[in-house]
């Protein structure tokens, strides 16, 4: 193993150290499964109603906050896909760089082939979980999902 292999090993070991495994990486979260579930009366539905959350009609009824909740906390699921579709229908646009949704607050001041610029509302999912206003924002289309 020549010297530069040593350098490669050191560099890649740093990379591996950067992503040091944590508990959540190998342990599946233990969901509570009742040992002896209380028998609910038969007139209650025993299973979630089939496909209720599989149709976009259901998602039209959800308010915007619920749609954002499903989008950010049911990631990788079909429901996320339906929520995203509903948000788009309501004129929200996903920004791939900021990983959040923007909606025009008014007609943009400038629209070119590469971007549009103006005042927008965007959803702050990291901070206060609310909608915020952003003036003079340039939405580059290369970031439009």
């Amino acid at each position: 193993l020549s010297k530069d292999v040593g350098f490669f090993a050191i560099q890649m070991l740093e990379t591996s150290f950067q992503f040091l495994p944590e508990v959540a990486d190998t342990e599946r979260p233990k969901y509570y499964t009742p040992k002896n579930p209380y028998p609910t009366p038969s007139y209650y539905p025993q299973l979630p109603p089939p496909a209720l959350f599989e149709t976009s009609a259901t998602f039209e009824k959800f308010d915007i906050d619920t749609l954002f909740f499903i989008f950010y906390y049911q990631q990788g699921t079909y429901q996320q896909y339906l929520a995203a579709r509903e948000l788009k229908k309501q004129s929200w646009r996903f920004h791939k760089k900021y990983l959040t949704w923007f909606q025009r607050h008014e007609e943009p001041k400038a629209i070119t082939d590469d971007y549009e610029q103006g005042t927008y509302i965007y959803f702050d999912y990291e901070g206060a979980w609310c909608q915020r206003k952003k003036t003079d924002f340039r939405f580059e289309y290369k970031f439009l999902e």
Binding site: P21, E22, V23, E27, R28, P29, K30, P34
Partner: protein, 46 residues
């Protein structure tokens, strides 16, 4: 001089095998699956 190996988070005097609760080389303590969350119905419901 090495280090005090009893400070590495393993109960070395345990009569039980350690491998059953050895979660990882990188962090200490039993795994979540071993610490079964116990849920008890409060007495007032009985």
């Amino acid at each position: 001089l090495g280090r005090d190996l009893t400070t590495l988070g393993l109960s070395l005097n345990s009569a039980e095998p350690l491998h059953g609760t050895f979660a990882s080389p990188w962090f200490e303590g039993p795994t979540s699956s071993d610490v079964e969350a116990e849920f008890h119905v409060p007495a007032c419901y009985n």
